[in-house]
């Protein structure tokens, strides 16, 4: 029953999913053009999460380093950044996201930005500090499974999202699993993602009535987990890395594209968008 689903994934069920068309020059964008043959080489992806287990068997040697962001009230930025050359994962969630990205874009470099831990007091500052580090340290794509619903941080995260856009860093963010405002997923330059029920990693949908713009697999997804394990997970936070992976492929093949241009390519190639002239997008 679609009416008993969480509001966010409502938009991607078969009965309400809107069939859309791409037209004019947009209809020339095919999956083949967008990411055909691409493997994400040369793209640096930051996973802002619980850490990434660098030697997990599902990750090959894609994890190239990372940082741990700790809350430190005495500092101006309220955080302390510690180098983490061989990252570990506290929970398994960051490793799960990295595994999905690596599966889609096997040649991309993944960096762990750990912003979680035992101390809950400065969580939003750690999260913001992680974003800031990734923007300033040459990351091209960021996967955010986290968000804040605190209105007081609206400005802080908006500034970071704009900064990321102007520095050509693409933010891909899971929306809250509970229908509530969440930042930075609500900002226009961010690719916001909720879960749909499918399992094909390249099947994703565009929603023309945001705030949630994209739907990707996030229900019963088999993922990597801490301590060389795997598990099956459900949540919007497993949908986001699918779009992060596809965006990484696009970025790798077309390094000149800006975040809004990548979003346009994603729209044109979405599974519910038919190209003018009758061709579907699943031609890649």
């Amino acid at each position: 029953m679609s009416d008993s689903r969480p509001a966010w994934s409502n938009q991607f069920t078969a009965d309400v999913l809107r069939e859309l068309r791409s037209f004019g020059p947009l209809a020339l964008i095919s999956r083949e053009w967008a990411w055909g043959e691409a493997r994400g080489a040369g793209v640096r992806v930051a996973v802002i999460d619980s850490g990434v287990e660098h030697d997990h068997p599902w990750l090959g040697d894609c994890v190239k380093g990372g940082v741990i962001v700790e809350y430190d009230a005495r500092r101006k930025e309220s955080v302390k950044i510690l180098d983490d050359p061989k990252p570990r994962d506290l929970f398994g969630h960051g490793t799960a996201c990295a595994g999905i990205i690596h599966k889609l874009a096997p040649d991309a470099e993944i960096y762990s930005v750990r912003v979680l831990g035992k101390d809950l007091t400065g969580r939003a500052f750690q999260f913001a500090g992680g974003l800031r580090w990734a923007i300033e340290n040459g990351m091209n794509v960021m996967n955010l499974s986290l968000s804040t619903s605190k209105q007081e941080y609206y400005g802080l995260f908006h500034e970071l999202a704009d900064d990321a856009y102007f520095k050509n860093v693409l933010l891909v963010s899971a929306v809250n699993n509970i229908p509530a405002p969440s930042y930075p997923s609500l900002y226009s330059s961010v690719i916001s993602v909720a879960a749909h029920e499918g399992h094909d990693p390249f099947t994703y949908y565009y929603n023309p009535a945001p705030p949630v713009e994209f739907g990707a697999p996030g229900i019963d997804v088999e993922v990597a987990w801490a301590d060389s394990n795997k598990t099956t997970c459900t949540g919007n936070s497993f949908a986001a890395p699918h779009l992060a992976g596809i965006s990484t492929l696009i970025r790798g093949k077309h390094p000149e594209l800006t975040p809004f241009q990548i979003k346009t390519v994603l729209y044109a190639c979405a599974s519910n968008v038919t190209r003018e002239g009758g061709q579907g997008t699943g031609d890649g």
Binding site: M1, S4, R5, P6, S9, S50, L90, F91, G92, H93, L116, G117, K118, D119, L120, T121, R123, S145, L146, S147, T148, S149, K150, A174, N176, N177, I178, A195, I219, D220, W225, A226, D227, N229, K230, T231, T232, C233, T234, G235, N236, S237
Partner: protein
């Protein structure tokens, strides 16, 4: 009125206030908030067809989660148990404020495996939901092992969200009341000099104490009645109202 008399009057008034606060607290809230939380986890476990359910509260200072109530398999050993906020599925949920559903969690030794093994019970599927009050995560509610299916889905996630909201409100109210009581008593202590405080202590143990015991007894009765049906409550109200009318006339 000399100073000693006015001080002892003040002491008596304060004493009365303390008693009134205690009585009101007992009348407004279940005798133990845990009772309500226990009902919530039990209802959740039954509705989801889950083998077990629990609520753990965040202890920010210790950086830990403390299991407050539990229902089902392993519940006797779970209550009172502590796990680090940097551990397990519950820790992740407390950290992010995001619910998550996992299955085949046996593959995840960090799912507080050691703790789960202490209870002799390692679940196969788990759904963990944050308890949120004003954008702050105050705890985590978990349901374990859905009996009818291998995993919990998005619909389960939404439904558990409703239970979690109830639990969060109950916990928040109880914490508020505790804080209020604490602030009140602290203020009383600050108002009264140490010598007077001794007087209050003495006064509490003697004199009109019986009168307040009655109030407490009444409060307990109200509480029991409030848990009965609508008709019973209405009837009690009628009886009390009649008694009040009679007492005011004759008094």
């Amino acid at each position: 009125m000399n100073e000693t008399t006015s001080t002892s009057t003040l002491a008596a008034q304060l004493q009365e206030l303390v008693r009134a606060v205690e009585a009101t607290g007992a009348a407004l809230l279940p005798s133990s908030n845990d009772e309500l939380l226990q009902t919530i986890v039990e209802a959740a476990a039954r509705i989801f067809g889950a083998a077990a359910a629990s609520i753990a509260l965040v202890d920010e200072r210790a950086g830990e989660l403390v299991f407050r109530v539990a229902y089902g398999v392993g519940s006797e050993t779970v209550v009172g148990m502590r796990i680090g906020l940097d551990q397990g599925v519950a820790g992740y949920v407390a950290n992010t404020g995001q619910p998550i559903a996992l299955s085949n969690v046996q593959n995840d030794p960090r799912f507080a495996r050691a703790a789960a093994e202490k209870t002799g019970y390692v679940p196969k599927s788990i759904l963990a939901m944050p308890l949120i009050v004003e954008d702050r995560v105050i705890g985590v509610m978990e349901v374990l092992d859905k009996i009818s299916a291998p995993s919990f889905g998005m619909q389960d996630m939404e439904l558990l969200g409703l239970f979690a909201r109830q639990a969060a409100i109950a916990i928040h109210q109880s914490q508020q009341l505790d804080a209020l009581n604490h602030a009140f008593l602290e203020n009383v202590r600050a108002l009264v000099s140490p010598e007077t405080a001794v007087d209050i202590q003495r006064a509490l143990g003697t004199g009109d104490a019986a009168q307040y015991d009655d109030v407490m007894e009444l409060a307990r009765l109200f509480q029991t009645i409030a848990l009965l049906g609508n008709a019973e409550r209405k009837m009690c109200l009628k009886i009390l109202e009649t008694f009040r009318a009679y007492a005011t006339k004759t008094g």
